[in-house]
């Protein structure tokens, strides 16, 4: 008799399956991958001012769009689609097989990471082509970018899985999840310049990952000189790393402990 496949092996297989399923849902592909591009087109056309010398709103906004893309694609999408999968009995069926929960989670993480990469490529390509977006040239900035995307999408995936127990049903999930994400976006300086927000908003935002992701992305896409205009007069990348790690740990803890495979 053969051995049972390992959790990681199955996780990778699930990742492939998740991507295939996702790719066949045309509406969600368009929505997830192109929505940030559409927003950039709108905001980039409306706000053509500069925020600081040499910093266009588009440049500032792209940092925010990538950061909030991480939250939308991971947290929001999973916290809505997992309850739907639960409603139709797909999760219960999986529970009845020898596939471990960790493989299911790994599959989701792979899906989120891959769609994030595609989304970022589209957004950056579009930004460069039409909105004069300037790409960072230093390799250190690309390194920051890489760990922010990796850690950010892992964190967002874990939190989305953890939060999927909150909506009672798939139909109601959107109503529970979307407002949280939209409010977070406003509070975290995605649509507005963060330092122009009221201090209490900034303080609330500082508890959650999105503010840190947005700030981290600004460190990649804005000139070094802009750091002095941040709240702490610095990009605070170390704090960002710590905050994201804490949220990742919280997400994993609740995903493992509280994940619901069945409606009741």
């Amino acid at each position: 008799m053969n051995k049972i496949p390992s959790a990681l092996q199955l996780g990778i297989r699930r990742g492939g399956l998740e991507i295939r399923q996702f790719a066949r849902q045309r509406e969600s592909v368009v929505f997830t991958l192109l929505f940030p591009v559409i927003l950039l087109a709108i905001f980039g056309s409306v706000f053509q001012n500069t925020i600081a010398p040499g910093v266009t709103f588009s440049q500032y906004f792209v940092a925010g769009m990538i950061a909030s893309g991480l939250i939308n694609t991971g947290f929001q999408a999973l916290a809505i689609t997992i309850p739907m999968e639960r409603d139709v009995g797909a999760l219960k069926r999986l529970r009845g097989t020898p596939m471990p929960a960790s493989s299911y989670f790994i599959g989701k993480a792979i899906l989120i990471f891959v769609s994030m990469v595609i989304q970022i490529l589209l957004l950056l390509g579009f930004g460069v082509a039409f909105f004069g977006l300037e790409m960072p040239t230093e390799s250190s900035k690309w390194l920051t970018f890489a760990w922010l995307v990796l850690l950010g999408s892992a964190c967002s995936t874990a939190l989305g899985i953890a939060f999927s127990v909150v909506p009672k049903s798939g139909r109601g999930a959107s109503a529970v999840v979307s407002p949280i994400v939209i409010i977070l976006q406003f509070f975290s300086g995605v649509f507005f310049v963060f330092t122009q927000l009221p201090p209490w908003m900034q303080q609330v935002a500082a508890i959650f990952p999105l503010k840190w992701l947005t700030q981290g992305m600004r460190s990649v896409f804005l000139p070094e000189s802009f750091a002095s205009q941040e709240v702490a007069q610095s990009w605070e990348l170390q704090t960002t790393f710590v905050v994201l790690m804490i949220w990742l740990a919280i997400g994993i803890f609740f995903s493992v402990r509280k994940f619901k495979w069945d409606r009741d």
Binding site: M1, N2, K3, I4, P5, L10, R13, L17, R20, Q21, R24, Q25, M84, E85, V88, G89, A90, K92, R93, R95, G96, T97, P98, M99, P100, W261, D262
Partner: protein
């Protein structure tokens, strides 16, 4: 050795005592059917055996393993069982063959994908998206996913709900084939004729307790129960319950001088017995 052993199983949801002391023993190689009305504790019992729910009291052993255990041992156990749940409406953006192929990767010793597709009669539909399948085809896919891991024990929950009579017959043949291949099956069903056609033994559960375990033919003393002879006498339909229907018919035949008008001889069906059993325990 028994495949499933349940002793004193209890489960409550708040004040509702869904299962109130169930004992069961299911042998290797048999099709065992659990019958009972909605809310009888049937689903709760089965879901405890499947490891989906925790019990409050009692002992449960399925393939020598406590389904409540978690972790690696539980994976090894799940590798040996198959579960076909009641309703499944997965989004269906995958094809039949993709789905079966994928699930086969979960198991240490999967059956041949092509063979399984053949055996459930989905060969012509193997390239179709699941969402384009009919209800009956979807159900056959459910079964395919339940048996792909070559389970020693298969749980079948209401497998033929919504089938037309022809599809149901084809499905029964599939189940019988699985049994003759050595798979043991725990079947829950609303259809008494299905239990009668398939099950080696049936258990009737009601109000959280097992009322009787027996072969379908013997349930409720059915084999030895009285027959009913019914005939027409002028404008009137008459009937008589008797232990000796042949004697009664013969006497009637003499009386009518040959043919007895509208003669019917019946014994209680499994359904009659079942309804009598579950109707007789009102509190």
């Amino acid at each position: 050795m028994s495949l499933i052993e349940v002793k004193g199983l209890k489960k409550s949801y708040g004040d509702v005592h869904a299962v109130r002391g169930v004992d069961l023993e299911i042998a290797q190689g048999e099709i065992f059917s659990l019958l009972g009305p909605n809310g009888a504790g049937k689903t709760t019992t089965v879901e405890i055996l499947e490891g989906f729910r925790h019990r409050d009291a009692g002992s449960v052993s399925v393939l020598g393993f406590d389904p409540q255990t978690r972790g690696r041992e539980s994976r090894i156990w799940r590798d040996r069982i198959g579960i076909v749940l009641q309703s499944s409406l997965d989004a269906g953006d995958l094809t039949v063959i993709e789905t079966i192929n994928h699930f086969s990767g979960y198991y240490s010793n999967p059956r041949n994908v092509d063979e399984v597709i053949h055996s459930v009669g989905l060969k012509e539909k193997e390239g179709a998206l699941i969402r384009n399948l009919s209800g009956g085809q979807r159900r056959r896919l459910d079964v395919a996913l339940g048996i792909i891991g070559s389970p020693e024990l298969l749980f079948l929950d209401e497998p033929t709900t919504g089938f037309d009579p022809e599809a149901r017959r084809a499905f029964w043949a599939l189940i019988q084939q699985l049994r003759s291949d050595g798979t043991s099956i725990l079947l829950t069903t609303h259809y008494l004729d299905e239990a009668e056609a398939l099950a080696d033994r049936v258990a009737v559960i009601n109000k959280g307790v097992i009322m009787e375990v027996s072969t379908p033919a013997d349930l409720g003393g059915r084999a030895t129960s009285q027959a009913t002879v019914q005939w027409r006498d002028g404008a009137e339909t008459k009937s008589e319950k008797t232990d000796n229907p042949t004697t009664v018919v013969s006497a009637l035949s003499t009386r009518f001088n040959g043919e007895i008008p509208e003669l019917v001889v019946t014994r209680p069906s499994l359904e009659d017995i079942y309804l009598e059993m579950i109707g007789g325990v009102d509190e």
